[in-house]
C-alpha cells in the first residue's frame, strides 16, 4: 500500500465530506425542526455557485463575490420560504416532496433562461489556484485545503451556535419536541424563516466553494442532493453531530474506497472481474452503506431524542 497516496486520499475524503456537511447541516436542521423535506436545497446550492460566478465576473474578485453571495442566497432562501414552503410545514412528506420537486424544475429552467444552457466558470485568485506541498513530494491544491479549513470553521461555528446560544437552544428543542417551542411563546414563523435562511446560506457557501472545482452547471444540485440526503439519513435526521460524522464517513468511503477498491477486490476475485466489478460497486457503495446502517439502526446513527420514536 502506498501510504502517501492514502494520506492524500484521506485529505480528499475530508474535503468532499466537509462540502457535504455544509449542505447537510442546513438540510438536517430544516428537516429536524420543521419536519420538512426540502428537495430544493440543491437548487440553493446551485444558486450559490451561479451568484458567485456572476459576482466574480462583475467585481473581478472571488473573495468579494463570495462575501456578496452569502446574503444573496440567504435572501433567496427567505423568499422561497415565505412564498412557497411556509405553507407546507403542516403537510405530509409526500406533498413536500412534490412541491419542492416543482421548485427544482422551476429553478433549473429559470437558470437556463437567465444564464443560458452552457455552464459558467469561477476563476480563482492566484494564491488559491496553486498547490502546496503538504509533505515533500505530495503537492495538494490550495483551494481544496481552503475548503477543508472553511468546512471545519463552519462546523465549529455551528457547534457553538447550537450548543451555546439561545437560537441553538431553540433549534435543539425544536428537533426533539416541536410542540414545546410553540408553548414557550417563541415567534415560530420568524424562527423557521431564520433557520431556513441560515440553511440556504450554508448551501450557498457550499455552492460557491464547489463552483471552482466541480464547475457551475444546471442540475448540479440534484446529484449532490442525493448524497446529502444519504448523509443526513445515515447521521440521523435533525442531528448536526450526526450530519458531521456521516458526511466525513461518506466523504472518506467514497474517495478512499473508489481509489483502493480495485486492489482490494483483486484479493478476493480474479483480476478481470475485479476490474469490471470495481466501478459498479464503487458507484453503489454509499447506497450499500446507507442500506446497511438503516438495516441495523433504522433511525440513523444519531437520532435526536424524541424524534420519530
Amino acid at each position: 500500500m502506498n501510504w502517501l497516496l492514502l494520506l492524500e486520499q484521506v485529505l480528499n475524503g475530508f474535503q468532499l465530506g466537509l462540502l457535504l456537511f455544509l449542505l447537510a447541516a442546513g438540510l438536517t436542521l430544516v428537516f429536524g425542526i420543521m419536519d420538512m423535506v426540502n428537495l430544493a436545497h440543491g437548487s440553493l446550492y446551485m444558486m450559490g455557485a451561479y451568484f458567485c460566478a456572476t459576482f466574480t465576473n462583475w467585481t473581478g474578485s472571488f473573495l468579494i463575490a463570495a462575501i456578496l453571495t452569502l446574503p444573496a442566497v440567504f435572501l433567496v432562501g427567505v423568499v422561497v420560504e415565505i412564498v412557497a414552503l411556509r405553507n407546507l410545514y403542516a403537510r405530509d412528506h409526500l406533498d413536500q416532496v412534490l412541491a419542492t420537486f416543482g421548485l427544482i424544475l422551476f429553478f433549473n429552467e429559470l437558470t437556463r433562461l437567465i444564464w443560458g444552457p452552457i455552464g459558467l466558470s469561477i476563476p480563482l485568485p492566484e494564491f488559491l489556484s496553486t498547490t502546496v506541498e503538504i509533505i515533500p513530494g505530495v503537492p495538494y491544491p490550495t483551494f481544496r485545503l481552503a475548503i477543508i479549513l472553511v468546512g471545519f470553521l463552519v462546523a465549529a461555528l455551528l457547534y457553538f451556535i447550537v450548543s451555546r446560544t439561545r437560537l441553538g437552544m431553540l433549534v435543539r428543542a425544536g428537533a426533539s419536541n416541536r410542540d414545546m417551542i410553540g408553548a414557550l411563546g417563541i415567534n415560530i414563523r420568524l424562527l423557521f424563516t431564520l433557520v431556513f435562511g441560515l440553511g440556504a446560506a450554508l448551501a450557498g457557501l457550499a455552492g460557491l466553494m464547489a463552483g471552482p472545482i466541480l464547475s457551475v452547471e444546471i442540475g448540479m444540485g440534484e446529484s449532490i442532493l442525493i448524497l446529502t440526503l444519504v448523509v443526513i439519513v445515515i447521521g440521523g435526521i435533525g442531528s448536526i453531530k450526526g450530519a458531521f460524522i456521516a458526511a466525513i464517513i461518506i466523504g472518506l468511503i467514497d474517495t478512499v474506497g473508489r481509489s483502493f477498491l480495485p486492489e482490494i477486490l483483486k484479493l478476493f476475485i480474479a483480476e478481470d472481474s475485479a476490474a469490471t466489478a470495481a466501478p459498479a460497486i464503487s458507484s453503489m457503495m454509499i447506497y450499500l452503506l446507507m442500506a446497511l446502517v438503516l438495516a441495523i439502526k433504522p433511525q440513523g446513527l444519531f437520532p435526536p431524542k424524541g424524534v420519530g420514536r
Binding site: 406533498d95 416532496v97 412534490l98 424544475l105 422551476f106 453503489m284 442500506a291 438495516a295
Partner: protein, 330 residues
C-alpha cells in the same frame, strides 16, 4: 357501489380508453395508440405503488426498479434467443413467469429490510436499493450496460395473442389495467386491505389491538412489486427496448408524482395522474407560443414546476379535487 357522478366519469374514461385504437385509426394517426399504451402501462405501475403509498403510507422511492426488472427479463430472454439461438427464452409464458418470480423475490428482500424503517428513512432506503439495481444494470456489459438492450422479438405468446400487433398489445394492456383496477378494488376492501389502511392510519393502535403489521406490509410490498414487474414486462414489449434509465430514481419520482397528482388513496387516482402527467408534458412542450424569441414550449418545465406547487398547495387531492362527486376509495 352507488351510481354517483364519479362513477359515470370513471366509466366514460374507461370507454374512451377502450376505443383509442379505433379513434386513432379514424384519425389516421397511430402515434397516439403507442402513447396511450405507454400511459396505461405506467398507470398500472402507479396503481401498484398506490397500494403502498396511498393505502399503506409506505412511500417507496424505488418502485421503478421493478419495472426495470420486468423489462430486463424480456430483454435478456430476447437477447439470448437472438444472439445464441436459445428459442425457448423467447417464450412469453416463461418470460412472464420469470418476471413475476424475480420481482417477487427482489421485492421480498428489499421490503424485508426497508420495512424496519419509517418515514423519510423508508423513502431513502428504498431509493438506495433501486439505485443499487440501477448501477448493477449499468455495470453489466453483456446486456448493453447503460446503452440498454434492443429487443428484436417481442414475447412469443404461442398464438394466444400476437404482441407485434399494435391493437392486440393495446388491448392486452387495457385489459391488464382493468384487472389491476379490479384487483385493487377487492384488495382494499378486504381484510388484508383493512390492515394495510389501518396501519397507515394509526400503527400504534394496530399493535395495541393485536396486529403485527410487518408481515402484512411486507406482503403488500411484494404484491406491488409483482404488479410493477408485470408493467415492466408490458413496457419492454411495447418499446422494444430496455435500459437502466428505466430504473433511475427519477423514474420512481415520476410514479409518485402521478399518484399525488391523481389524488392519493383513490382507486382511479393513479390512472388520472398518469394520463395528465404524461399528456401535460407532451402538450406543454408543444405550446405554439414565442415570447421575445424564446419558445415557450421549450421551457415548459418553467410552467410545470410552479403548477406542481400550486396543486399541492391548493388542490390537496390533486385532480381528484377538480372532478365532481366524491371519490373516496370506490
Amino acid at each position: 357501489m352507488t351510481l354517483s357522478i364519479r362513477f359515470f366519469i370513471n366509466a366514460a374514461l374507461l370507454i374512451i380508453l377502450a376505443l383509442v385504437p379505433f379513434l386513432t385509426d379514424w384519425a389516421g394517426d397511430s402515434f397516439y395508440t403507442g402513447l396511450v399504451s405507454r400511459i396505461l402501462i405506467l398507470a398500472i405501475a402507479a396503481l401498484s405503488l398506490n397500494l403502498l403509498i396511498g393505502y399503506g403510507g409506505m412511500v417507496s422511492f424505488g418502485h421503478a426498479a421493478y419495472i426495470g426488472v420486468g423489462a430486463y427479463v424480456v430483454g435478456i430472454g430476447a437477447f439470448h434467443a437472438f444472439e445464441d439461438g436459445i428459442d425457448w427464452m423467447l417464450n412469453g409464458y416463461f418470460q412472464l413467469f420469470t418476471t413475476l418470480a424475480v420481482s417477487a423475490v427482489i421485492a421480498l428482500i428489499i421490503g424485508a429490510i426497508s420495512l424496519r424503517t419509517r418515514g423519510v428513512y423508508f423513502i431513502m432506503i428504498t431509493m438506495a436499493f433501486s439505485q443499487m439495481l440501477y448501477f448493477t444494470a449499468v455495470g453489466v456489459e453483456t446486456y448493453g450496460a447503460d446503452d440498454g438492450l434492443t429487443i428484436y422479438s417481442r414475447s412469443d405468446m404461442m398464438g394466444l395473442i400476437d404482441l407485434n400487433d399494435e391493437k392486440s398489445l393495446y388491448y392486452l394492456i387495457f385489459v391488464s389495467l382493468l384487472a389491476v383496477l379490479y384487483l385493487m378494488h377487492r384488495l382494499v376492501g378486504s381484510q388484508f386491505g383493512n390492515v394495510i389502511r389501518g396501519t397507515k392510519s394509526n400503527e400504534a393502535r394496530m399493535r395495541a389491538i393485536g396486529y403485527s403489521p410487518y408481515k402484512y406490509r411486507l406482503t403488500a410490498f411484494v404484491i406491488a412489486g409483482i404488479i410493477a414487474g408485470y408493467a415492466g414486462f408490458l413496457m419492454a414489449n411495447l418499446s422494444d427496448f430496455v435500459s437502466p434509465d428505466m430504473m433511475h430514481w427519477t423514474r420512481s419520482g415520476d410514479l409518485i408524482i402521478m399518484i399525488v397528482l391523481g389524488g392519493i388513496a383513490n382507486l382511479f387516482g393513479p390512472l388520472y395522474g398518469a394520463v395528465v402527467f404524461l399528456m401535460l408534458g407532451e402538450l406543454l412542450s408543444s405550446i405554439p407560443l414565442t415570447i421575445g424569441g424564446l419558445s415557450v414550449g421549450e421551457y415548459w418545465q418553467l410552467i410545470f414546476g410552479p403548477l406542481l406547487i400550486f396543486i399541492v398547495l391548493y388542490a390537496r387531492n390533486g385532480i381528484d379535487s377538480f372532478l365532481p362527486g366524491k371519490g373516496r376509495r370506490t
